[in-house]
C-alpha cells in the first residue's frame, strides 16, 4: 500500500505491506533507529512516538494507520543543533543508563509536558507507567521530567542556569 507520512516535519512517501508495524516502518524503511523495540506485548514503551501529537506505542500501530498523519520520533526532539530541554534534563539528572528505553521515555515525557506543564511526581509516574526501564529505578527519570518542566515553564531560568553551569560539556 502507498502511504504518505510526515515524520519529524519531513514528508515520506512509501510502499508498505499492510501488516507492517509503524515501529518497523520507522526503523527499517526510514532508518530512524532511535525508536526501539523491547517486547512483543505492548508492555515496554521503548517504541513510543507521537502520532498527531499523542504518545502511542508504535509497535501496536500499523504503518498504514499513519497515512496522512504526523509522526514525531526521538530524532525530532533536537532542533537546529539544540537539544530539547527534556533531553538535556535526562542527561543532567542521570536518567538513563543503558539508553534502550530512553527514546520512548523521552517521547512519553515530552507528550506529558505538552499536556501538563507542571506535573506532580504522581502525575509523572502515572504518565510514564506505560514505559519500562530496567536500569534506573525511575527516581532520576522523575527528577529529569521535573527539571525539564521547570525549564520549559520559563520559571526555570534558575534550572536552566543550573544546567548551563553544571551541565556536561557537549562533545
Amino acid at each position: 500500500m502507498k502511504i504518505a507520512v510526515k515524520v519529524n516535519g519531513r514528508l515520506y512517501e512509501s510502499d508498505v505491506e499492510p501488516r507492517t508495524l509503524l515501529a518497523y516502518y520507522l526503523r527499517e524503511t526510514l532508518n530512524l533507529t532511535g525508536t526501539h523495540i523491547g517486547c512483543d506485548t505492548t508492555s515496554c514503551g521503548a517504541c513510543t512516538v507521537l502520532l498527531d501529537g499523542e504518545a502511542v506505542k508504535s509497535c501496536t500501530v500499523l504503518a498504514v494507520q499513519a497515512n496522512g498523519r504526523e509522526v514525531m520520533t526521538v530524532e525530532g526532539l533536537e532542533q537546529n543543533g539544540q537539544l530539547h530541554p527534556v533531553q538535556k534534563a535526562f542527561w543532567e539528572a542521570h536518567a538513563l543508563q543503558c539508553g534502550y528505553c530512553t527514546p520512548g521515555m523521552l517521547m512519553a515525557s515530552y507528550a506529558l509536558l505538552q499536556d501538563n506543564p507542571a506535573p506532580t511526581e504522581a502525575e509523572i509516574r502515572e504518565a510514564l507507567s506505560g514505559n519500562i526501564c530496567r536500569c534506573t529505578g525511575y527516581v532520576n527519570i522523575v527528577k529529569a521530567v521535573q527539571l525539564a518542566a521547570r525549564e520549559l515553564s520559563g520559571e526555570g531560568q534558575e534550572a536552566l542556569q543550573e544546567v548551563e553551569a553544571h551541565g556536561a560539556s557537549s562533545n
Binding site: E17, E28, N31, L32, T33, G34, T35, H36, I37, G38, C39, D40, T41, S43, C44, A46, T73, V74, E75, L77, E78, L83, Q87, F90, W91, E92, A93, H94, L96, Q97, C98, G99, Y100, C101, T102, P103, L106, I124, R125, E126, L128, S129, N131, I132, C133, R134, C135, T136, G137, Y138, V139, N140, V142, E162, H166, G167, A168, S169, S170, N171
Partner: protein
C-alpha cells in the same frame, strides 16, 4: 546533578556521562540498528513440548515459501559438528535439537528469509512430528529413583548434575550437637529472569573474499564469545571479529552463547551474506538463561544471648535441561559459600545438589556475582528467624554478630578472605538515617491499633570482582582483565578495556580513573570497549567485576604511562628523574615550585623530543590479575505498611546504605543502586516463572512476568560509608549488584515483621497481595 567533564582531578565527582549525548538523541547503535546490504533475517522454530522425541522434521513447505533462502535443522548442524555447543558450566547444549527436545521453547530449526516477516511466516510451515515423553518439572522428583533420566546423552545416567560442598561438615555437626539454640528454615528463591530491555540478538556477516566473520552481538563478554566461537566453529580466532555495540542492558543475560547466534553464523557462512537474528521478548524469557531457582534449607546454631556459632545449609538447585550456570569452573554453585555473610560464624557447612529438569537452561548470575544473591537472601532471612526465636531486635542481633572492623582481613569458615569492611558503622548510619527507634515506637502504636507495619533489615556482604585467576576461570579462560592506554601527541587519550559495559557508564568512570592518574580531564579521555579487533583480551562485564578488575587495570596502566612520562618530564625540566615530583596535575622539580610540565607537555615531547635512549611514544597496556576478590557490603532498611483489605504491601520508605569502597562517580553509583533496588523489589513482590506439570512456561512475556513501572516502584533513599579495599589500586570494590543482592531480604523481612503478631515466621517470594491476603484471612483479620 551532573558536573562538567572539563575539570582536573575528576575522581569521586558526579561527572555527567559521556555516553548520554548519543543515547538521548536516539543515535545509540544497538545490534538491531545494524542494517547491512543484502542482509537476511533468521527466525528460530521452537518446541511446544517440554520433553518429546523428534520423529521427523519436514521443511519442504517452508523452503518453498516466499523469500526463504535456507532452513537449518539439527541434522544439518550435526554434519558440520555444530549440533551441540559447550555451556559456560562445562556441560553441552543442543544448538538445534536432533533426537529430542528437553524444554518448551527449545530451538528445533531455523529459517532464513529476505525479511523478518517472511522468516516468521515460513517458520509456521515447518512440520515437526513430536512424540511426547514424561516431563520432570520438580527438582526433588528429578532426584527420585522413579524419575525418567532426562539427559541420556550424558555418560552419567542421572538427573543429578553435581553435588558440591564447602566448609567443615564435622566441626559444624559437632557445634550443632551442643548448641543451646537451633533454628531451621526452608527458603525458596524463585526462578526469575534478568530481562534486559533489549532482547538478545546478532548480525553475522561472513566475508568469503577475506575469510573473515564479523559478528555483531548483544554480548557482555565479547572476547570470551570470540574464543568460544573459534573453538566451536573451527574458524581461526583472528578471523573472527566480535563487536558488541551499544548493549541495552545485560544483567547476566548476555553472558552465554545462545543457539540463535550459532544458527546466524552458520547461515552467513552458507549463504555468504549478513544474517540478522533478533529474538522476541517471549523467546528471551522462555528460552534464554534464567536465574536463581534455589530450594534452600538453612540452620543456625546459636547461644541464648544471640551469638551465632555455626551455619548449615542444604540446597537443591534447578538448572534446567542443560547446566548453563555462568559460574567459574571450580564453583558449580558459584560463590554461594559466601552464605555466612557479615557474621562471625565459628563453622559452616554448605552443600548444593544441581539437578536437571525439563526447563530452559541456566542459571546465570543475574545482577549477582554467581549465586551470591541466593546466599545473601538466605542468611539475612534466617538471621531474622533467629532474632524472632530469641525475642531480640534484628538490628541488635546483627550488631552482636558482625565481623568486627579489626578482624579484617577476615577468613570465613568457608574459606573466603574478606578484604575490608566496617559493618557496624554502615548499619549505625542506616539506623540513624531512617530513624529506627522512632519507627519501632510508631510500629508499637500501630500494632496496638490493629495495623500491620513492618521494618526489615538486611546487612549483607557481597563477593565480587573475579579473578584472581589462580582460583577463577570460565571454561579455562582465566578471569583477569585488561586496559590499553594510548596518549596522542596533543595529550588526548584513547583507552581500551577488556570489559564491556551495558549501561554501567564505563565511558565516563574509566575516563575518570585514567584522567585522575594522568592529570587530564574526562573530556581528554575516550574509552572504547567491545571490539575484539582493537580491545585487549578480557573476560567481560558481569558479577560487578569491571571496576575491581578492569578499573584496577586502567589505574595501573595509567601509572605505567606516568613512569615513562616522569623520564620525559625530567628531560624537559633538565633535572634527574629522582628530583621530579608529580602532584596529580603536573610534574615539577622537588623544592622548585615555579617550574612544572603537564602531561600534555610530556605527551607532545614523547613524539617530538624524547631523551636519548628512550623509546618514542606514550602508550601502555596492563593485564591486571587481582590478588583477591573485593567485598562490598551494605545496610538496607525497608519500612512497609500492609493493606488489610487487599493484602497489598506498600513500601513506605527504603534506605540503602552501601559501602563499595572508593567511589569513582557518586552519581553513577547512586544510579546503579536505584536500578538494583528496583530489580530486587520486583523479585520480592512480582516475579516468578512457574511451570505447569507438562512443563509449559506460565510467564513467558511481560504480561505475565511482571516488571515494575514508575507507578509500582517506591522512591529510593541512598547513603554510603567508604571503606576502601586495601588491595585494589584505587580502593574501589564494585557496586552494581549490591542492591539486587541485598534488597530482597529487606523487603521480605519487613513483610514478615509486619505479620509477626500473627505468628508468621517466613513467606516465600514473590509476595503477591493474595499471599498476604490469605494469611490475614486465615488469622481472622478483616478490613
Amino acid at each position: 546533578m551532573a558536573l562538567r567533564q572539563t575539570e582536573l582531578r575528576p575522581l569521586g565527582k558526579p561527572v555527567g556521562r559521556k555516553e548520554d549525548p548519543r543515547l538521548i538523541r536516539g543515535k545509540g547503535r544497538y545490534v538491531d540498528d545494524i542494517m547491512l546490504p543484502n542482509m537476511l533475517h533468521l527466525c528460530v522454530v521452537r518446541s511446544p513440548y517440554a520433553h518429546a522425541r523428534i520423529r521427523r522434521i519436514d521443511a519442504s513447505a517452508a523452503l518453498a515459501a516466499p523469500g526463504v533462502k535456507l532452513v537449518l535443522t539439527g541434522e544439518d548442524l550435526a554434519k558440520m559438528n555444530l549440533a551441540w555447543m559447550p555451556t559456560l558450566a562445562g556441560d553441552r547444549q543442543m544448538v538445534l535439537a536432533t533426537e529430542k527436545v528437553l524444554f518448551q521453547y527449545q530451538e528445533v530449526a531455523a529459517v532464513v528469509a529476505e525479511t523478518r516477516a517472511q522468516a516468521e511466516d515460513a517458520a509456521q510451515l515447518i512440520e515437526v512430528d513430536y512424540e511426547p515423553l514424561p516431563v520432570v518439572v520438580d527438582p526433588f522428583y528429578a532426584l527420585s529413583p522413579e524419575a525418567p533420566i532426562l539427559r541420556d546423552d550424558k555418560e552419567k545416567k542421572s538427573n543429578l548434575i553435581f553435588h558440591w560442598e564447602a566448609g567443615d561438615r564435622e566441626e559444624t555437626e559437632a557445634i550443632f550437637r551442643e548448641a543451646p539454640v537451633v533454628v531451621k528454615q526452608d527458603v525458596r528463591f524463585p526462578r526469575v529472569h534478568p530481562s534486559p530491555l533489549e532482547p538478545c540478538g546478532c548480525v553475522a556477516d561472513y566475508d568469503t573474499a577475506r575469510s573473515k566473520l564479523t559478528f555483531y552481538v548483544t554480548s557482555q563478554a565479547p572476547h570470551a564469545h570470540r574464543t568460544v566461537l573459534a573453538l566451536v566453529s573451527g574458524l581461526p580466532e583472528h578471523q573472527i571479529h566480535v563487536i558488541s555495540p551499544d548493549v541495552g542492558g545485560g544483567f547476566g543475560n548476555k553472558v552465554p552463547v545462545y543457539p540463535g547466534y550459532v544458527c546466524a553464523i552458520v547461515a552467513s557462512l552458507k549463504l555468504g551474506v549478513p544474517v540478522k537474528w533478533i529474538e522476541t521478548r517471549t523467546e528471551n524469557i522462555a528460552s534464554t538463561h534464567f536465574a536463581r531457582d534455589y530450594h534452600m534449607t538453612a540452620e543456625i546454631a546459636a547461644r541464648e544471648d544471640g551469638k551465632v556459632l555455626a551455619l548449615r545449609v542444604k540446597t537443591v538447585a534447578d538448572h534446567g535441561a542443560f547446566d548453563g550456570a555462568a559460574d567459574p569452573s571450580k564453583f558449580p554453585a558459584g560463590l554461594f559459600s559466601i552464605v555466612t555473610g557479615s557474621y562471625d560464624f565459628k563453622a559452616a557447612f554448605v552443600e548444593v545438589d544441581g539437578v536437571h529438569t525439563n526447563k530452559p537452561p541456566g542459571g546465570v548470575a543475574y545482577r549477582c556475582s554467581f549465586r551470591v544473591t541466593e546466599a545473601a537472601y538466605l542468611i539475612e532471612r534466617v538471621m531474622d528467624v533467629l532474632a524472632r526465636r530469641l525475642g531480640m531486635d534484628p538490628a541488635e542481633l546483627r550488631m552482636r554478630n558482625f565481623i568486627r572492623k579489626e578482624q579484617f582481613p577476615y577468613r570465613s569458615p568457608t574459606g573466603w578472605v574478606y578484604d575490608s569492611g566496617d559493618y557496624e558503622k554502615t548499619l549505625t548510619l542506616a539506623l540513624e538515617r531512617i530513624g529506627y527507634e522512632e519507627l519501632r515506637r510508631e510500629q508499637a502504636e500501630r500494632r496496638a491499633r490493629g495495623e500491620f507495619m513492618g521494618i526489615g533489615i538486611s546487612t549483607f556482604t557481597e563477593i565480587v570482582g573475579a579473578g584472581p585467576s589462580h582460583t577463577f576461570d570460565i571454561l579455562g579462560l582465566k578471569m583477569f582483565d585488561s586496559a590499553q592506554i594510548r596518549v596522542h601527541p596533543t595529550g588526548k587519550v584513547i583507552a581500551r578495556l577488556g570489559v564491556r559495559h551495558q549501561g554501567q557508564g564505563h565511558e565516563t568512570t574509566f575516563a575518570q580513573i585514567i584522567a585522575e592518574e594522568l592529570g587530564l580531564t574526562v573530556d581528554d579521555v575516550l574509552i572504547e570497549e567491545g571490539d575484539t579487533d582493537t580491545a585487549p583480551y578480557g573476560l567481560g562485564t558481569y558479577a560487578s567485576r569491571s571496576t575491581p578488575t578492569a578499573g584496577g587495570a586502567a589505574a595501573l596502566c595509567a601509572r605505567r604511562i606516568r613512569q615513562k612520562a616522569r623520564k620525559i618530564a625530567a628531560h624537559l625540566l633538565e633535572v634527574g628523574e629522582d628530583d621530579v615530583v608529580w602532584d596529580g596535575t603536573a610534574f615539577s622539580v622537588q623544592g622548585l615550585p615555579g617550574r612544572s610540565v603537564t602531561m600534555k607537555d610530556v605527551a607532545f615531547a614523547a613524539y617530538t623530543n624524547v631523551p636519548e635512549g628512550l623509546e618514542p611514544g606514550l602508550e601502555a597496556s596492563y593485564y591486571y590479575d587481582p590478588p583477591n576478590l573485593t567485598f562490598p557490603n551494605g545496610a538496607y532498611i525497608a519500612v512497609v505498611d500492609i493493606d488489610k483489605g487487599t493484602g497489598a504491601v506498600k513500601v513506605r520508605r527504603f534506605l540503602a546504605v552501601d559501602d563499595c569502597g572508593t567511589v569513582i562517580n557518586p552519581m553513577i553509583v547512586e544510579g546503579q543502586v536505584h536500578g538494583g533496588l528496583t530489580e530486587g523489589f520486583a523479585i520480592a513482590f512480582m516475579q516468578d516463572i512457574p511451570y505447569d506439570a507438562d512443563g509449559n512456561c506460565l510467564a513467558p512475556n511481560w504480561m505475565d512476568y511482571l516488571v515494575p513501572t514508575a507507578l509500582d516502584t517506591p522512591h529510593w533513599e541512598t547513603d554510603r560509608t567508604v571503606t576502601p579495599s586495601p588491595h585494589h589500586p584505587i580502593g574501589a570494590k564494585g557496586v552494581g549488584e549490591s542492591p539486587n543482592v541485598g534488597s530482597p531480604a529487606a523487603f521480605v523481612n519487613a513483610v514478615v515483621d509486619a505479620l509477626s503478631p500473627l505468628g508468621v515466621e517466613h513467606i516465600d517470594m514473590p509476595i503477591y497481595p493474595w499471599k498476604v491476603w490469605s494469611i490475614l484471612r486465615a488469622h481472622g483479620v478483616t478490613e
